[in-house]
Amino acid sequence: MADIVQQPATGSQNLQQAVQARAKAKRRVRLFLLLPALGIIGIFGLAPLSIALIYSFLEPGTYGGVEWSFSTDAYVQFLFERDIFDDTLGFNSAYLQIFGRSFGLAILTMCGTLMLGFPVAYFIAARPPEQRNAWLFAITLPFWTNLLIRTYSMLLIVRDEGFINLALMKLGVIGAPMQMLYTDGAVLAGLVYSYLPFMILPIYASLEKFDFALLEAGHDLYASRIQVFRHIIIPISRPGIVAGCALVLIPALGAYITPELLGGGKKLMIGNLIAMQFGSGRNWPFGSAAALILMAVVLIALLLSLRAGAEKENRHG
């Protein structure tokens, strides 16, 4: 009797052990399969960031590179200027101004690409499915050419002897060429042009499955065209708008080539400032610090906007 009762108990014990062993093996395999991904994130993501973080707390070497002694000078330098004579710290807003200009230009770039990109994305989403790929191809076509070349051609258009000035002078609108190159306007136009596809593509993705019967339903329920746009089209494409804004704002903040060429190095943006520290400035710690400060500001802004978005969602839910 006792034997018979025991039998199933050992059976289930064995089963349990087998299940546990299997689960353990599975975990090991899973970890092993994750290694390549973890490796890539570590080598290309975390390692460079760590290097930048470490360098930002070191002293600059005379011919570039770093001296291995701890210093917070790089961060202090960002806001203050050390007087050459009495070594006191005075507030210096020069770098803050560059940050300010960068944020201003990046936000304007985001607004510009949104204003231009949204109608284009909507237009493509409203085409018959078999035509859409051709339109998307046309949008991505400029990517096939190097950004440097595209920016140079922009330069040729806006310079004093460029296409716009020549055309306006021929038409007699202006007597002498307008100064357009090396202005904030030129940099903005260049940025909008470069980043437009990054706005169009995510908005298109969010509108791709859009049911256009919803527009009729809205009109039918007493919504005017503007109300339909506000209450139906915008909320449904919001994920695409948010993604597009992030995809444009973040790289626009760190833009280098466009302000370098179209701003002529006079209208500095953060990207130029950082590049300068690693190049002619020979101040690697300060370059690293500037890059990390930029990253911190962007991260905080993103987190805040995400939280605001989530709260909005909750209230409407």
Binding site: L214, E216, A217, D220, L221, Y222, H231, I232, I236, G317
Partner: protein
């Protein structure tokens, strides 16, 4: 009351233009359940969209209670639509979907909340107010679409094949639910369908449409028992169309004879046909079988085959002139026998074409 006057709708221009509706005139009485019935491409949905305002007529006029509305945009018409695929707003809760129309009309918040409550009760979805619409089943989405369209209390509710996406059992349930809602609210329902049994079951009046024109308007009984044309007779239920000889008219009735038989007094769709061969509609369930040699036999034919369907059998019979007709009988005769067909002459109808 909706008064559609000489409405024509053309899509496109020139040689490639498609005529969707051609000189359609129709009166839809207030508070009725009115059905536009026809095969796909007959123009019924175009007519509905013209009343909703999604399309504008190429010619003609649409009046609602005397006011011309044919050229107003959809959001200025006191008319709401239940769409074929519901077109519910995916980013809003059930309650906000239902309240959307009133919100756009800038009604006070308390009124909107009360109406949403009332509509949820009306369509029996009280527990689902806070749900997202994509968490609902097809039948529930259908009811939300109904509630959303009814909430602003439109003068007319337009329904564009709203039941076609539901399975058979749900569809039957929704048919009676729609009838109930129409009776409870007293709102004029204009219902578009290609399903003739649905139209017969639900409507106060049916307009049968084909090729961009209204073929016949009448109560379901009118349409079924007194079809005017071959098209209507064919489209509504199963019909046999046989050839008889028109002898003349006796008041409103036509005098008809089949073969060498006696003359019959029969309802007619037209009082202006010339004597000679005419088409007569004969419903399968009105036919009785008798001896071929008997006096009662109006038509004589040979039994081809019979199909049992539970409540009776469907017999296929070939007449002497080669026409194949269907008859529903309790007990079928064996294939190959010569039988006589009899029918109450009140159930026959002479067609106009």
């Amino acid at each position: 009351m909706i008064d559609v006057r000489h409405v024509t709708k053309k899509f496109g221009e020139g040689a490639t233009a498609v005529m969707a509706l051609e000189d359609v005139s129709l009166i839809i009485p207030e508070g009725s359940f009115f059905t536009l019935l026809g095969p796909s491409g007959c123009g019924k949905t175009t007519l509905l969209r013209l009343i909703a305002g999604f399309e504008l007529p190429s010619e003609g006029e649409i009046r609602l209670d005397g006011d011309s509305i044919g050229h107003l945009p959809p959001h200025k018409r006191p008319v709401n639509t239940v769409f074929q695929n519901y077109a519910l707003f995916p980013h809003m809760s059930v309650a906000r979907n239902i309240g959307f129309g009133l919100e756009m009309l800038k009604r006070p918040k308390t009124e909107i909340a009360a109406t949403i409550e009332e509509m949820l009760d009306l369509v029996q979805l009280g527990a689902f107010a806070a749900r997202r619409v994509d968490q609902l089943s097809g039948g529930q989405q259908q009811r939300v679409a109904l509630a959303r369209a009814l909430a602003p209390r439109p003068k007319v509710l337009l329904l564009d094949e709203p039941l076609s996406a539901l399975d058979l059992k749900l569809r039957k349930g929704m048919q009676s639910e729609l009838k109930r809602l129409q009776a409870e609210t007293g709102i004029t329902f204009v219902f578009v369908t290609h399903d003739q049994s649905e139209a017969l079951a639900m409507s106060d009046q049916i307009a049968v449409m084909s090729a961009g024109a209204v073929q016949q308007v009448g109560t379901p009984e009118d349409i079924y028992t007194a079809p005017q044309s071959r098209f209507v007779a064919d489209f509504i239920g199963d019909t046999n169309i046989v050839t008889g000889e028109l002898l003349g008219y006796d008041g409103p009735m036509a005098q008809i004879r089949f073969g060498e038989g006696r003359s019959l007094s029969v309802k007619t769709a037209s009082a202006t046909l010339v004597p000679g061969p005419v088409h007569v509609a004969l419903r399968p369930e009105t036919i009785t079988i008798c001896d071929a040699a008997s006096d009662a036999a109006l038509l004589i034919g040979t039994v081809r085959d019979a199909t049992y369907f539970g409540a009776g059998s469907q017999m296929s019979i070939r007449l002497e002139d080669g026409t194949e007709i269907q008859a529903q009988v309790d007990r079928p005769s064996p294939a190959g026998t010569l039988v006589g067909l009899n029918c109450d002459s009140a159930m026959l109808q002479v067609l106009a074409d």
